[in-house]
Symmetry: C2
């Protein structure tokens, strides 16, 4: 009988260091390249990447009826398009091949050496081509903090907030993979005292800690996805940094929402951690009151217990953790987000990315942005190297990490990392 | 010597009926299919479509050094990606082949019969795969009307409006080609008197008359496009109907902008009218005051004189023109829009679609939406069949038309058409 990929006792014949994000229970999918290989699909295991093209071409997936060349592509879209079930079958088969007592791959020294590439020798690429990107605003704590700062502390949440998962469309072209530096954006800024705006580099550059889900289905315009069916359409999750220029955003965003304050860049972590791997980490979300409309009803635990943290590492200095929070705090879960997004007939596509919005927890140390952590610059953060931050400085590197952990099994996301370069 | 494609005296050996949108001076590009052909690229001439695959495969473009199969694709993206200059060379060559005294194609009866397909036998498809879609809000009259209705008639324009071309990101997946019906969206609606929102079909379904430009270049994240260079990156224009559900939009849009009130569908006309063909129709835009920031400065006439109209045709009834306006009224021109969009380093991609925002003129008959025409339902429109409209009814077909005309030459866009179906 097959041992399930999520079984906590499973061990791999590939060495997995203690504390690794990528034990055999995880097996996230990504796109990597090396000095010798164009971008192709791989799976992370310990400190190695397993080359799926090699496995496919050498018959290791022969019972799965996969299209030829499905992994030999720049993006995972076609693979994701096979659906969540087929993705689960591939993950299960990879799990078998890597299991401690399985000799199929292990016994072929040459094969296993070719198929397993040390992470130090690969460069991770964008895992998907993103046809559409939506950003939600689904953390009650974040929305409350922002409303308190910029509107009315007594009525921090707007009237619609508890009735629907507020969201807006973002820019897909400027989403980049972890490790890509981001230039400080320039734009129009107008202080409340000034009569006219000025054009200059943003003085309030910020990160936003988010988690994003990636879809693996294509629906027809006019159709909708219920909360019950939503997760079948979600392949997995990545960490997401929604870089924000608060001063640009503030001047531009009324009445049509964020634009240049956001679209200069967003960063994702390179490994898509499957919803299958996260299955043991389901959690109940916050109580929802007032009661939601029927199309937003759902059953069972639809949040996920994923610990998240953000570190700031100034240039040539040490990192400081500035935020620790958890994905489970989200007021609106992914099933509700997708049901709401499509209830008007809006169609989804394979590879779409849907971000959670900034994830803040209940305490100040759990706020997911500098805007909240420094309370719009009023309370500077103290970093380990003795420096202070109200917002980000050139040379700062932002590192987002995330993992779920239970019964000694750690399902990690790797890093979502990006350095701020000076304005061009 | 070659006769330029825009020369007003040019005639084609292909019959072009009087009043046709597609004389030899136009030659817009599109994707079409027939009973016998998968989607391929074509050019409109009179009542015919010229099959570019046939021309390419039979050597008619041999001096142009085009990639093999460039026209034998579902979308024009790869062709547009060759750049505006190369697109102009292809248009010039097609012009030569169609000129009255040119025998290269004309003389081969079989060839010309295969290459020229009656429009009645083709179905037009989406001309491009749209990686990113942005909607601007660049008509002063429209923004003033909306501000007067929903905010303050004394301060109808928000403080940022004359300093920057306000825009937001829209949903690319739900943009469809002319002729595709649109189901009335359902969603959350809350009247000002109600305590809670209800879920029901939109009661305030609207069109928005817009013109959109399509880009033909890929830029790097961090780079910017100046107003001077902007038009090199614009291949051409299409008509655009930004269907809107005003009641859904009103409840959801604060603070992050329009979402489900817009993303259930947008319609484009199928032919990309090149900026080259529109060159003779340049016009000066409105005076801009206060003076714009230097990065938004531009020289020369950067607006275009394109007459636009909207017709409503109730089911099994006659159409009524409800709006006549002109693209030249835009306060912010396309060069300014693209310069603003990229000034923060946001990258553009081939096939991106950038819509103008609703185009309203100075008089009530020139307003580009039902919201303005009926003043949010207060002044119903009277249609030719005796019926009234505050907003759109099921079965209504919206037809947008546009053309530029001068010295007897008419550069038309064809139709952007879509029928409202009842909610699912």
């Amino acid at each position: 009988m097959k041992i399930k990929a999520n079984e906590p006792k499973l061990k791999s014949w590939v060495e997995v260091p203690n504390g690794s994000d990528f034990p055999i229970q995880n097996l996230p999918f990504g796109i990597f390249k090396t000095r010798y290989l164009n971008p192709v699909a791989g799976v992370a295991i310990g400190n190695h990447v397993l080359d799926l093209v090699y496995l496919h071409e050498n018959g290791f997936f022969q019972d799965l009826n996969l299209p030829q060349g499905i992994f030999n592509q720049m993006y995972l879209n076609d693979f994701l398009g096979l659906g969540r079930k087929k993705g689960g079958e591939v993950r299960q088969r990879v799990s078998e091949l890597l299991q401690h007592d399985n000799n199929e791959l292990k016994a072929h020294k040459a094969a296993s050496e070719i198929a397993l590439i040390p992470m130090s020798e690969v460069q991770m690429c964008m895992p998907v081509r993103i046809p559409n990107y939506t950003d939600f605003y689904s953390s009650e704590e974040h929305a409350t903090n922002v409303g308190t700062m910029f509107r009315d502390p007594e009525n921090a949440l707007l009237p619609n907030w508890k009735h629907l998962p507020v969201g807006y469309h973002g820019r897909a072209s400027s989403i980049v993979v972890s490790g890509t530096p981001i230039h400080r954006p320039k734009g129009q800024i107008k202080s409340s005292e000034a009569k006219h705006p000025v054009f200059c580099p943003s003085q309030k550059l910020d990160f936003e800690l988010e988690v994003a889900f990636i879809t693996c289905a294509e629906t027809k315009l006019g159709s909708q996805i219920t909360t019950e069916a939503a997760e079948e359409n979600i392949f997995g999750l990545v960490l997401f940094n929604d870089w924000s220029a608060r001063d640009i955003q503030q001047w531009e965003y009324v009445p049509l929402g964020p634009f240049l304050g956001k679209n200069f860049g967003s960063t994702i972590s390179p490994w898509i951690v499957t919803l299958d791997a996260l299955e043991p980490f389901r959690a109940k979300g916050p109580e929802q009151f007032p009661q939601v409309l029927p199309y937003l009803n759902f059953e069972g635990p639809k949040n996920f217990d994923v610990s998240l943290e953000v570190l700031i590492q100034p240039e040539k200095s040490v990192p400081t953790t500035v935020c620790r929070t958890n994905f489970k705090y989200m007021y609106w879960n992914m099933a509700q987000q997708l049901a709401h997004h499509t209830v008007n007939g809006c169609n989804i596509q394979v590879g779409d990315l849907y971000a959670s919005g900034t994830i803040s927890g209940p305490s100040p140390g759990s706020y997911g942005s500098m805007l909240e952590l420094s309370w719009n610059g009023q309370r500077p953060l103290h970093l380990a190297d003795g420096s202070e931050r109200k917002f980000l400085l050139d040379g700062d590197e932002i590192i987002i990490k995330g993992h779920a952990e239970k019964e000694g099994v750690r399902i990690g996301f790797g890093e979502c990392r990006g350095m701020v370069l000076k304005a061009i």
